[in-house]
């Protein structure tokens, strides 16, 4: 499936170095399927020990139905758990825009067809402020032109060129494409000294 653009309301999760343990605590990974992970997203930041609601964007009704997540620096650092982006995707997230992302997290998002785009600190602040003030405004992220349109804000979004191409060509769903090199893979398997 080609992913050329995505649009939707935004949800703002502020903070640098938000690790995947915070996105999904380890105890929710005792599953053999990703299907039920929606409720696990940011669980310990959304609920206190007695199950009472804490103040968190994912609990904030103004963000109901949002599909573009806005974040700060090094989002998704730490554990390689794909359960983290899987939980976000099942909550409704289709794209993530931030200052920077951890590498394994980006790899996981890419293989799930979730584009990640980077913007400057000033730009993310402008986007976040607007999304917080006007949560009903719809953002569009055009992958081929790498352009973000958000009301009166128009910005360039930085994407890894290879990941951008993988989205546009549909090759983010990588297994079939990798299998095309079958004869080369067999050759290399024989050729390696181990």
């Amino acid at each position: 499936m080609k992913i050329e653009n995505t649009s939707g309301k935004c949800i703002v999760v502020r903070g640098n170095e938000i690790d995947t343990d915070r996105i999904i605590p380890a105890r929710f990974m005792k599953v053999v399927s990703f299907k039920g992970l929606r409720e696990a997203a940011f669980y310990d930041e959304r609920y206190d020990a007695d199950g009472g609601l804490k103040t968190h964007p994912f609990n904030d009704e103004q963000y109901n139905g949002a599909s573009i997540l806005l974040v700060n620096k090094n989002f998704g650092c730490g554990s390689s758990r794909e359960h983290a982006p899987q939980a976000l995707m099942r909550w409704g997230i289709k794209a993530i825009i931030g200052e920077s992302f951890a590498e394994i997290f980006v790899g996981n998002c890419t293989s799930m067809g979730i584009p990640t785009a980077a913007v400057s600190a000033d730009d993310i602040e402008a986007l976040m402020r607007k999304a917080e003030e006007q949560p009903d405004v719809v953002m569009s992220l055009d992958i081929s032109s790498e352009e973000i349109r958000f009301g009166d804000i128009i910005l360039h979004a930085g994407m890894n060129p290879a990941i951008r191409k993988a989205m546009l060509s549909g090759s983010w769903d990588s297994t079939e494409i990798l299998l095309e090199a079958d004869s080369l893979i067999r050759w290399l398997d024989n050729e390696l000294p181990y």
Partner: protein, 466 residues
């Protein structure tokens, strides 16, 4: 100009460059465990695919196994279900599994090297970010997510961007009581938890060359905590000596042949790098973390940083850290009372770590306010420790001596902090909630520092305990 190890090994394993520009990289050794693999097996089966090279994948159980009673079925039905899924998947696809009844079972990053599965010049992947550990042998070892595990099972390859390479040269004289853990914590503090994004780290220099293989593994293990997905050290005589006669290492003439290959992939003396960072460790003190990521650390004799001295980003995270930890800027960490101590994990759960901790513990008692556990990284580590009587030293001091597993490093098993407990931990992550309690608190340090804290009931400088 010559080439560095990373680029040599990458080129040897690059199948081709895909139309997207990503490289298709052959993974020579694939390690799996019970937590991140079941969905990958479901994915290949849903697509009607099979495991392409079952002999290139090895499985073990570590994340969710209980460390007290490992008899089956496990008391936790969810854990039992996951173990069964791994047993079914590996059986169905002809993959070797080291389960809790197998003498080779243990934390995946401990058993790979210990069995000699991990060798120089390999590409190694595992659905776990601490796969960087295996780079200590001069391999490219990287953590992947579940969809990439799917790709490795089905094709033995992944689609990946080629990173740049940063040389980290460590020189100087390491003081008594200062360890590999302290070196890597210092590197992460200096370069930042996101400093390594887009880079592989090559650790070199006289201090690194003088380290044992187990110490090198501690360094490479935490590369990911500095944002670098890959960290490695060139193979040398220390590496070859470690590998000789390990079960999965070629023997006799085949060993000599392998040795030639291993030597050939080391970085050339005139190799090029994209960046260089130099660290002199003379004067380095034992490090402890005070915050909510591994880059928030200080020397044991320093005071906590003042927010006004930090840049805006660091101050934001530090402020959140102080609020979570209940610490105040400008104060000392020395003397901070602790509630728990954990010695183990893929970072510091090897025999040399247990020996170092036991040397501190011997003849002392765990403070009555502290519950302390020692969890060997593998069954082989446990057997060796018991042979040396280390288990007795620990239990006589009041530590609990457990069975092999990840235990309280990530608390996907019964080993967890309770409430706001503060833990002196030899593990790798101090993230909020990491050790199983959403309000629990973790201070990372070397195993000897964690042992010293356990017997003192508070954070102390292990160098003053001689």
């Amino acid at each position: 100009m010559g080439m560095n190890l990373f680029n040599k090994v990458w080129d040897l394993h690059r199948v081709k460059t895909l139309d997207s520009g990503l490289d298709q990289l052959f993974i020579g050794l694939h390690l799996i465990h019970e937590v991140t693999s079941p969905q990958a097996f479901s994915m290949i089966e849903e697509r009607g695919l099979s495991v392409k090279y079952p002999d290139r994948t090895f499985a073990t159980v570590d994340h969710i196994v209980p460390t007290l009673d490992q008899s089956r079925p496990f008391q936790d039905p969810l854990a039992e279900k996951m173990i069964q899924a791994l047993e079914d998947n590996t059986k169905r696809h002809g993959i070797s599994l080291f389960d809790t009844e197998n003498e080779n079972q243990g934390i995946v990053h401990i058993i790979g090297p210990e069995l000699g599965l991990t060798q120089p010049g390999m590409t190694i992947a595992c659905g776990d970010s601490h796969t960087s550990t295996h780079g200590a042998f001069g391999s490219i070892a990287l953590g992947v997510g579940t969809s990439q595990i799917r790709d490795i099972l089905a094709t033995q390859t992944i689609a990946i961007s080629r990173p740049k390479v940063r040389l980290i040269e460590v020189s100087g004289t390491l003081a008594e009581g200062v360890t590999a853990k302290d070196i890597i914590l210092k590197i992460i503090c200096d370069l930042g938890v996101n400093g390594g994004i887009g880079y592989a780290y090559e650790y070199c220099g006289p201090v690194i060359e003088a380290l044992s293989m187990e110490e090198r593994m501690t360094i490479c293990n935490m590369s990911i905590e500095g944002g670098a997905r890959v960290g490695y050290i060139n193979p040398d005589e220390t590496t070859f000596e470690y590998l000789k006669d390990r079960p999965y290492v070629p023997q006799a003439e085949a060993f000599d042949e392998a040795l030639k290959n291993w030597k050939s992939i080391a970085s050339d003396s005139d190799a090029e790098y994209d960046d260089v960072y130099r660290l002199d460790v003379s004067g380095l003190s034992p490090m402890v973390t005070w915050g909510i990521n591994p880059g928030q650390g200080i020397g044991i004799d320093e005071n906590l940083p003042l927010l006004k001295n930090l840049d805006a980003e660091a101050a934001e995270v530090a402020s959140k850290a102080y609020s979570h930890m209940g610490f105040s800027e400008g104060t000392a960490v020395l003397g901070q009372p602790i509630d728990a101590a954990f010695i183990g994990s893929c970072t510091n759960g090897r025999i040399s770590d247990l020996r170092a901790a036991a040397a501190v513990v011997k003849g002392r008692k765990v403070a009555h306010t502290v519950r302390a556990i020692v969890v060997p990284g593998s069954k082989h580590v446990a057997v060796q420790a018991e042979k040396e009587g280390l288990d007795k030293i620990f239990t006589e001091a009041g530590f609990q001596w457990r069975n092999a597993g990840c235990s309280m490093c990530l608390a996907m098993n019964p080993d967890k902090l309770k409430g706001r407990e503060l833990c002196a931990s030899s593990s790798n992550r101090n993230f909020i909630g990491r050790q199983g309690s959403p309000t629990g608190r973790t201070m990372l340090m070397s195993p000897q520092m964690a042992a010293a804290a356990a017997v003192s009931g508070k954070i102390v400088d292990v160098r003053n305990m001689k």
